[in-house]
């Protein structure tokens, strides 16, 4: 289709989506379903994001607890996570996110296979649950004696007035060798998981980061923020870094340990993968410790190479630059072989993706590498800056739901603040086109006429599938089998369908092969039985 036709089609699809809605719903959704149009200076249309999901709408979104305990803190293996609430929240966040972890020794702490809960009963709802929480902490200490304990508040906790922070302080006095901290991440906070990310970032920043000052050995020491090691992505990134001679001080939070968090401020630089879930941390560490950050994307071989070169530019070290170029040169041929084999079978096919706060952007790069185009994409819980770029931050309206999430005021630390870059270096980097502390957002990269949809819901997904017949659709487990019933392959980009890694060079190869398998399998052509293809039967008896 010509770009003109594409635009008409997108407009028709949008109208079709809105048609089914009551007026109030249609009005709100119209501002969240946007036809992309990139103008000079990467100016894109405004999209409504990070606002409430309308009650009754079948949404993909989850809650603040899921964002806090499930996403940000969950992947850390040696913090004991206690969920304070009725049993469900702890049960559902028990190992379901596939954050891989690899303790070095058989005796090292690994609490990830354990789900801890106060299993609140009616008695605690009526008389308060702090006593039970304290007792639970005693019992957790007796069982595990960990370095750190996180307490996660679920919906009823805030309502009945339990103070998880006061309990944390009290129990820390009792167990001075254990860092105990609470998260007010009740499920009703904010409008999605996103609120939970922010709450998690705040507490880790105030109570964990900066407690010790151990810098790992190495010339180039960086943090990787917003990489949660689903399917082993962080392992592949670590492999590449090691080859390049880069030391990872801390990853937030895939395959991470507490010791790395507490000295994370000793790094030279923060590289941000998932902008949505961790940009607060990057921002606060820059203000308090003077650590600059930039956005990276290790999803896609070309994107990985680009991110590594960005790192080389940042340091401006000849040896590092040369080494990075050598690594890229070493890794790329294996990628190209698979790319060349698979591309002819995938070229021109169309994809859609609706996930998270960054994956719906990152994975477009991977699809591009095998000639596939993303005609529609959107995030589940992102904010306007993830779509339109951080340049829109000052113009984002702060509504009541956002105001309820604490925004920390951060000052430079008198002891530990150290500007990593002087003004001259900053100017040089800017001249080279290095965007520090910035993210351009998803829309600037997408074609004109593509449909960008925030908080896509079930009805809209159905319209998209029926109107576009995409060759592949990417979202989460709740959407997986809806899409596949249509006879269209569906790739989960949260859990990776229990595969991966898809990051880095090896991950790209895995992904190309996976998409080729999914799109080109014979099975989609076998849905119709022979008697449905040719329903007319002439003969009376088969053997006549």
């Amino acid at each position: 289709m010509s770009p003109y036709d594409e635009k008409i089609k997108a407009e028709e699809v949008k109208a079709e989506m809105l048609k089914a809605y009551p007026t109030k719903v249609a009005r709100k959704r119209a501002r969240q379903i946007i036809l992309n149009e990139v103008q000079a200076g990467d100016v894109v249309p405004e999209i409504k994001a990070n606002t409430r999901t309308i009650p009754g709408i079948i949404t993909m979104r989850g809650c603040s607890y899921a964002g806090c305990k499930g996403v940000v803190l969950g992947p850390t293996r040696d913090i004991v996570h206690i969920t304070h609430g009725p049993i469900g929240c702890s049960f559902y966040s028990w190992l379901t996110r596939r954050n891989q972890t690899r303790p070095e020794k058989a005796t090292d702490a690994n609490y990830m296979p354990y789900a801890l809960s106060t299993d609140m009963q009616e008695e605690q709802i009526i008389f308060g649950g702090e006593k039970k929480l304290k007792q639970a902490i005693d019992e957790a200490v007796a069982l595990f004696n960990p370095k750190a304990i996180g307490i996660y508040a679920t919906c009823p906790v805030g309502l009945i007035g339990d103070d998880v922070h006061a309990v944390a302080r009290e129990m820390e006095e009792k167990y001075p060798h254990i860092n105990i901290f609470g998260f007010s991440c009740e499920g009703y906070k904010g409008v999605s998981q996103s609120a939970g990310h922010h709450i998690a970032n705040n507490k880790v920043f105030t109570d964990v980061v900066g407690l010790t000052h151990n810098r790992k050995p190495g010339k180039f020491v960086v943090n990787l923020l917003g990489e949660y090691n689903i399917g082993g992505d962080a392992f592949e990134i670590d492999r590449i870094f090691e080859k390049c001679g880069i030391t990872v001080q801390a990853t937030f939070s895939g395959n991470s340990v507490y010791e790395e968090f507490i000295s994370a401020h000793m790094a030279d630089l923060n590289m941000v993968m998932c902008h949505r879930s961790i940009n607060y941390m990057a921002d606060m560490m820059e203000k308090k410790y003077g650590i600059p950050w930039f956005k990276v994307n290790f999803i896609g071989a070309e994107s990985t190479a680009k991110s590594l070169r960005k790192l080389a530019d940042y340091y401006g070290d000849k040896e590092l630059t040369a080494r990075i170029e050598t690594v890229i040169a070493e890794e790329m041929p294996a990628v190209k072989i698979v790319q060349d084999e698979i591309k002819p079978r995938c070229e021109g096919k169309i994809a859609m993706m609706f996930v998270g706060g960054s994956r719906a952007h990152h994975y477009q790069d991977l699809f591009n590498e095998i000639g596939m185009k993303t005609v529609s994409a959107g995030y589940e819980f992102a904010h306007r800056d993830d779509y339109e770029g951080r340049k829109v931050l000052p113009s984002i309206e702060v509504d009541a739901d956002t105001r309820n999430i604490e925004e920390l005021t951060v000052q430079p630390d008198p002891q530990s603040y150290k500007a990593r870059l002087d003004e001259t270096r900053k100017t040089t980097l800017a001249a080279k086109g290095m965007a520090l502390n910035d993210y351009e957002g998803m829309m600037a990269q997408m074609d004109n006429g593509s449909l960008v949809i925030d908080d896509l819901n079930h009805h809209e997904a159905e319209v998209l599938i029926e109107k576009y017949h995409p060759d592949i659709f990417c979202a989460g487990v709740k959407e997986k089998y809806v899409v596949q019933k249509y006879g269209i392959p569906m790739k989960q980009l949260h859990s990776y369908d229990y595969g991966g890694p898809y990051a880095g060079f090896k991950g790209a190869v895995n992904f190309y092969k996976e998409i080729d398998r999914m799109i080109n399998t014979k099975i989609w052509g076998m849905i119709k039985a022979p008697w449905d293809i040719h329903p007319q039967v002439v003969a009376k008896y088969g053997w006549e």
Binding site: P86, Y111, E122, E139, C155, N404, K478
Partner: protein, 455 residues
């Protein structure tokens, strides 16, 4: 070791649950509601509850699981969720057009005291419920009972709204299959059909959560108990409630409300409990047992006698839900297996006695305990076989004990959607799975000289 921090020594805990052997009420209510034809479950609480329940059910069934949510924010949590629920009801009927919305509560809406009967009444008054459409409801606070309680409460909610008392009885019975798989619900219907009995099975998730691939997505699949069927339950002559915990409350309500007498039975798992189920069907309806079922019974019995040596004396540990555990324990005892540990996270003191009645006092039976405790019991007294859900695989791997997956959730294998555990054929398949697990283990571990060709 994955569970490397689990100590062998048991220290009783009173406040901390580690690795739960239950989950919360709303998921059971959501599952039950999916067993009504053209019903959309609705979670009155934060979005996360709905997302978690849908994800868990989807992982277990590998099928679409649709449900709405009231999407509470901080404002709704403070001022009450009435506006959210009213808006949700209107939006759902307009956009998704179900025949029934089945609203269940959450710990959040229960804690703030939302009265969903009053709110759905208001929706009715305001004309938000179209003619011929229904909103049913269940109060399912997550801080009481377990997922099984939530299932029972929603089934009770179906009786509350749909079942009407009538002096005109129909020649039919009700069967409430319990918190079991779609395949089990289908098996209940097949058995009654084989016997020529007119039966209403509710709820019924068969052909809802095991639908075929047709290239067309149906938001409301073919399966599920229909509204006319549900309405007719008050005119049935009898109710068989399978599983005391999951089906008992609805059956008792049908008796009280519509004077439909009920019989509470164990789940028809294994020889003895299937015998009791079929004998009760015969007694209640006067139907005779057809040749087809006699054949199936004989085949199950035949395999038990043929393979008895592989079952005899084998030590088993079971974790799961009470209704299942009672029936499974009976089956295992009838195979002369040695039931060592039986544990559920669902609270209820009666459970321990019911297990002991089957096994005798020499058993570790526990209610309201967790999987860490279960693991510790196994460490202290090892077993030959574990029956439990997917989470038991971490224990099975660490302790190197074969696991046969039973119960909920099963995230890592298929089969439960399609092949029943109920009935003689379900028993037969279950035996096959147990034998495969035990005999594969024997083959793996046998010294070369006793590696058997024929077993």
């Amino acid at each position: 070791m994955l569970l490397r921090h689990t100590p062998k020594e048991i220290v009783e805990r009173s406040a901390l649950t580690v690795n739960p052997a239950k989950t919360c009420q709303p998921i059971g209510a959501m599952y039950a509601a999916l067993g009504i034809h053209k019903c959309l479950p609705h979670s009155h609480g934060s979005q996360g509850c709905c997302a978690y329940h849908r994800s868990a059910l989807t992982r277990h069934y590998k099928e679409p699981v649709m449900a709405g949510t009231s999407s509470f924010t901080e404002g709704a949590s403070v001022f009450g969720g009435q506006a959210n629920l009213l808006e949700a009801i209107q939006n759902i009927f307009t956009i998704y057009q179900p025949d029934v919305i089945a609203v269940h509560t959450t710990c959040l809406s229960e804690t703030i005291g939302d009265d969903i009967s009053q709110i759905t009444g208001k929706a009715q008054e305001e004309g938000k419920i179209p003619a011929g459409k229904y909103v049913i409801r269940a109060s399912t606070p997550s801080y009481v009972g377990s997922h099984v309680t939530g299932f029972a409460n929603m089934v009770k909610g179906m009786v509350e709204v749909f079942s009407g008392a009538s002096d005109e009885k129909e020649d039919q019975i009700n069967v409430i299959p319990g918190f079991v798989e779609p395949s089990d619900m289908a098996e209940v219907k097949r058995i009654t059909r084989e016997m020529g009995i007119q039966a209403v099975a509710f709820p019924d998730t068969s052909e809802v959560l095991n639908t075929p691939q047709t290239g067309r997505y149906e938001m409301y699949p073919k399966g599920g108990t229909t509204i006319p069927e549900l309405k007719s339950t008050g005119r049935s002559r009898h109710t068989l409630a399978l599983g005391q915990l999951a089906s008992g409350p609805a059956a008792k309500l049908l008796d009280a409300k519509c004077k439909v007498p009920c019989t509470l039975l164990n789940l028809p798992i294994g020889l003895r409990n299937t015998d009791i189920f079929i004998e009760t069907l015969r007694q209640v309806t006067g139907a005779s047992v057809p040749e087809a079922l006699r054949l199936e019974r004989g085949q199950l019995l035949d395999v038990i006698t043929d393979m008895h040596q592989y079952f005899y004396g084998k030590k088993v540990a079971l974790a799961g839900d009470p209704d299942h555990l009672v029936a499974l324990t009976q089956f295992l005892k009838d195979l002369d297996m040695d039931v060592r540990h039986v544990l559920t996270g669902t609270p209820g003191k009666k459970f321990v006695n019911r297990i002991a009645e089957i096994t005798g006092p020499n058993v570790n039976a526990y209610e309201a305990k967790d999987m860490l405790y279960f693991h510790q019991l196994i460490k202290n007294e090892p077993v030959d076989l574990i029956l439990g859900n997917t989470y038991a695989k971490y224990i099975a791997r660490d302790e190197d004990i074969p696991l046969v997956r039973t119960g909920f959730p099963i995230y890592d294998r298929i089969g439960h959607q399609y092949f029943p555990l109920f009935g003689y054929q379900g028993g037969l398949r279950f035996l096959e799975r147990i034998l495969n697990a035990l005999m594969d283990r024997q083959d793996r571990d046998a010294p070369e000289e006793t590696f058997e060709l024929v077993m």
